[in-house]
């Protein structure tokens, strides 16, 4: 059976949930081979094996890790040439999409991004489903040339624990000078919030202009649900919350089981980021707020009274 390359998304060996999803999808198309770049494989290996990786290619060269995007694309291109995989799967993060983009040109392959489902088609084709125009349309697309490269959104598959051999293979890499022209000279890690990652979370609670800068009741409600915290563009532009928490067209697009929008009017830019959530709830003082057109349940009221009451009720129900 042909291999399917899966680029591992990890932070110092802590494998992100999306990688488990990609390995599960890879099993539909062939035999998963994880590609692990950077330090920390010892920590990651068990997870990769647990979700079905038959092989783990490892690369730990400064020539790859100290430069932006281009070297990883070269590593993957060499691997595509030598392993002739059935497909290459990456996460839909901006950086991984850029790697996939360069890989597509290098290998003469079609690229599909932001897939929400991937299935095997006839004759080894790879069939994808995407969401277009801010969730207004569902699109089915396939790659028609080269080795299909697909960038997959989080929450697109339920990870299946199926044991894989995870046989390690060290890759010797030779990176071109061209690929080493954009140098990463500093990296400041973000403080971990202790909450789930926004695009992976099953529940997201977001605050907007209506919070007036005080996210405390939003955070407390989120914590009662074990949720991630999001922010509207207005809240981020006002400096109330970091851009990495922004939900919207120019921030993160999320599709959780439950999305709660507090003090958010629901402009198109925001809706583009959450419209495909399974269940949507909103709290807003303004009954005309466009967000209410999207909700499964809404409360016209002050989030500073509604959310604490809801938090208390949720915590009581948890017992």
């Amino acid at each position: 059976m042909a291999e399917v390359l899966v680029l591992v998304d990890h932070i110092d060996g802590v494998v992100r949930k999306t990688t488990a999803e990609l390995l599960t999808i890879a099993r539909r198309l062939g035999e998963p081979s994880a590609v692990f770049i950077g330090a920390g494989l010892d920590a990651a290996k068990q997870t990769l094996a647990q979700y079905g990786a038959e092989k783990v290619y490892r690369v730990e060269s400064a020539d790859v890790m100290d430069y932006l995007v281009a070297p990883v694309a070269e590593v993957l291109a060499a691997l595509v040439a030598s392993a002739a995989p059935a497909a290459v799967l990456v996460s839909s993060s901006p950086g991984h999409k850029e790697i996939a983009a360069r890989l597509a040109i290098k290998t003469g392959s079609g690229l599909i991004t932001d897939a929400v489902d991937v299935q095997a088609g006839e004759g080894g084709t790879v069939r994808t489903t995407q969401s277009a125009f801010a969730g207004g349309f569902t699109v089915r697309a396939t790659v028609t040339k080269g080795t299909p490269i697909v960038a997959v959104k989080p929450n697109s598959a339920a990870p299946e624990a199926v044991s894989g051999a995870a046989v390690e293979q060290v890759l010797e890499v030779s990176i071109s000078e061209t690929a080493k022209k954009a140098r990463i000279i500093d990296s400041q890690p973000r403080a971990a919030s202790g909450r789930p990652e926004l695009t992976e979370a099953a529940i997201v609670v977001s605050g907007g202009r209506g919070t007036g800068g005080d996210f405390s009741v939003v955070e407390e409600f989120a914590d009662s649900l074990g949720a991630a915290v999001g922010a509207s563009r207005a809240a981020v532009d006002a400096g109330w919350y970091p851009h990495s928490n922004q939900v919207g067209q120019t921030g993160k697009q999320v599709s959780p089981q439950l999305y709660v929008a507090a003090g958010i009017s629901g402009a198109i830019q925001h809706r583009a980021g959450m419209r495909t959530s399974k269940t949507i709830i909103a709290i807003n003082k303004d009954e005309e707020a466009p967000i209410f057109e999207l909700v499964d349940f809404g409360v016209v009221g002050d989030l500073f009274t509604v959310l604490p009451q809801a938090t208390k009720a949720v915590n009581a129900a948890k017992g």
Binding site: L111, V139, A141, L258, E293, D296, F297, Q309, A317
Partner: protein, 272 residues
């Protein structure tokens, strides 16, 4: 310093965007369009770089070292509006690549056309783009363009300085904020965090009318029509379907019990 800013004319997100039934391509003609909002940040970044370079050269700028900002787009006739807006903001010249054979091109072909156009413009010191288009939202054309031109990419910049032939950016990822340097010539894409795009002034609107805009076909770029367009695409849209509108649920007014009712809804839906 010569800068090329790549921009896209896109269907207005507040209009009813859709696909053409005939060939599953994006309907670019039936819906009002405009310069993609995310490209405004790239134009503004270019203008700011040029302004600060002129400032540091002193009152008498040396014509041999003057900077230009050329805005480049690939698109149908109406895409000229995107160029017009950029010129009104302050860009110096425009290039519009249009050709019927381009219809239905994927990101791969778009990057090919842009690459050839950039070469014909004259290999600038800096290529600036937005972080993604607001219609396709792939965010891959900048990286593809850098790949085709063999240029370093310093992408997704929330801060940008250019000094002594080096571009330095701050790139804010999920887990870390990185500082990245690249020697010019380089490709830089910018996020919407980097600046506040200016509104065209009246003077800028009038001045734009006199600025040169060239129109090029695929033949002008030496691109074979068979290598772009719908039939040449490396991916295919097999079908599209409008998602049913969300069924509007219950909205209650808080009368001292709004939070409790919210929790009851969550419980009824088995979300807690």
């Amino acid at each position: 310093m010569n800068i090329v800013v790549c921009v896209k004319y896109v269907p207005d997100a507040t209009s009813d965007r859709t696909f053409n039934e005939s060939d599953n391509t994006t309907d670019r003609l039936g819906v009002d369009g405009l310069l993609s909002e995310l490209d405004e940040y790239a134009i503004e970044a270019a203008l700011k770089l040029v302004e600060s370079a002129a400032g540091s050269e002193g009152a008498e700028a040396d014509p041999a070292h003057s900077s230009t900002v050329t805005v480049l787009t690939v698109g149908p006739d109406k895409a000229a509006d995107a160029i017009k807006k950029a010129l009104q903001m302050g860009a110096d010249a425009g290039v519009h690549v249009k050709d019927e054979a381009i219809h239905g091109s994927d990101a791969v072909a778009t990057s090919l056309i842009l690459a050839e156009a950039v070469k014909k413009i004259g290999n600038p010191d800096l290529i600036l783009t937005g972080m993604a288009s607001t219609d396709g939202t792939m965010g891959v054309v900048p990286a593809m363009l850098a790949e085709r031109l063999g240029l370093p990419q310093a992408t997704l910049a929330s801060e940008l300085t250019v000094e002594g032939g080096t571009a330095t950016i701050r790139r804010d990822g999920d887990v870390a904020s990185e500082t990245i340097t690249a020697s010019l010539p380089a490709l830089v894409s910018v996020t919407d965090q980097i600046n506040e795009p200016r509104y065209p002034s009246f003077k800028g609107i009038m001045a734009a009318k006199k600025k040169p805009v060239e129109t090029w076909s695929l033949a002008d770029l030496g691109i074979d029509v068979g290598s772009v367009g719908l039939a040449a695409a490396w991916t295919t849209v097999e079908s599209f379907a409008r998602r049913p509108p969300r069924v509007h649920g219950q909205v209650v007014t808080d009368e001292g019990d709004g939070g409790t009712k919210l929790a009851e809804f969550l419980s009824a839906q088995k979300l807690i």
